[in-house]
């Protein structure tokens, strides 16, 4: 991991990796969308609305996975002070917020025809909404603090405290009686979904993960550039100040 601690090495490595990730994302999305609309049959209970699951479930998984990435990066920042850990955490927050929002919106659009309501204060839905607010809180806290190093530490601590929401989301459907159905893919004893629906779902999940990796890498590259610009500006101001402080000959 320390091998990529140098931002220049990371920029070179990520530039090589990026076209492959973009290619994989496009391929998996094409395969995923084709199988979602043309291969997967209508569900015997949900009918055609099962197709919403092919975007809703991967979005919900990514919402949690992205928070896991932020928590891991925050831990690495606080313990080892890896230079790219904060870059990773900062870059992942808006992406995680966007996927959480997408999970909430697509869930609502599935809930209206299936449950008869866009929203219910169910434990799963409410805990995912809290996750969304947590993402917004991370972004807002970072913007509120001018000192970059202090902002990084504060958001890392908030992110680590916030990890408590992940098991609550995961087990909410078991701990409480919820309208949201229990886990049907990631469960002990194997998936309870028929392979004709499971496979398109897994292909879409891989597509979403590839998309996340691409966006995260690109956002990290942008963040490194942003910090390079800030460092260049500070260096120039310091150079100008030093130049003015020099006694005229």
């Amino acid at each position: 991991m320390q091998r990529f601690a140098n931002p220049n090495k990371f920029m070179a490595f990520s530039a090589t990796l990026m076209p492959w990730l973009v290619g994989a994302t496009v391929l998996f999305f094409l395969a995923g969308l084709y199988s979602s609309f043309f291969v997967a049959p209508p569900d015997y209970q949900q009918g055609e609305t099962v197709r919403i699951m092919f975007v809703h479930v991967p979005s919900a998984w990514l919402a949690m996975m992205c928070y896991g990435v932020i928590a891991l990066s925050s831990f690495v920042l606080l313990v080892w002070r890896h230079p790219l850990a904060d870059v990773s955490a900062k870059a992942a927050a808006p992406i995680g917020a966007a996927f959480t929002l997408l999970a909430l919106v697509t869930g609502s659009l599935w809930g209206r025809p299936m449950w008869g309501a866009y929203w219910v204060w169910d434990a799963r839905l409410t805990s995912v909404l809290i996750l969304f607010f947590l993402y917004i809180g991370l972004i807002a806290l970072r913007r509120a603090v001018d000192d970059e190093a202090l902002a990084a530490r504060l958001t890392a601590i908030l992110a680590l405290v916030g990890t408590v929401i992940l098991p609550i989301i995961k087990f909410s459907v078991e701990w409480w009686h919820t309208l949201h159905q229990p886990s049907s893919v990631l469960k002990i004893g194997g998936p309870a979904v028929h392979s004709s629906i499971l496979w398109p779902l897994l292909v879409m999940a891989v597509a979403f993960i590839c998309l996340f990796l691409t966006l995260h890498l690109a956002a990290m590259r942008n963040e490194i550039l942003r910090r390079k610009i800030a460092a260049t500006r500070i260096m120039r101001v310091e150079r100008a100040a030093a130049h003015q402080a020099q006694p005229a000959e």
Binding site: L109, R112, L215, N222, T232, R236
Partner: protein
Amino acid sequence: MFDLGPHAPFIWAAYGAAAMVIGGLITWVILDGRALRETLARLESEGGRRRPVAKPENGN
């Protein structure tokens, strides 16, 4: 287009929302990256020009 039954508007709306969110993220990353690269290039070129300009003033 294929028949998605009576709930088709909800299905299309879900995929439309996904397209908007994903498209928005991609656009944000691309435009942000472009703006940052332009700013960095401008700073580096300004820095390169200013040093030789500053020298004569220094020498006086």
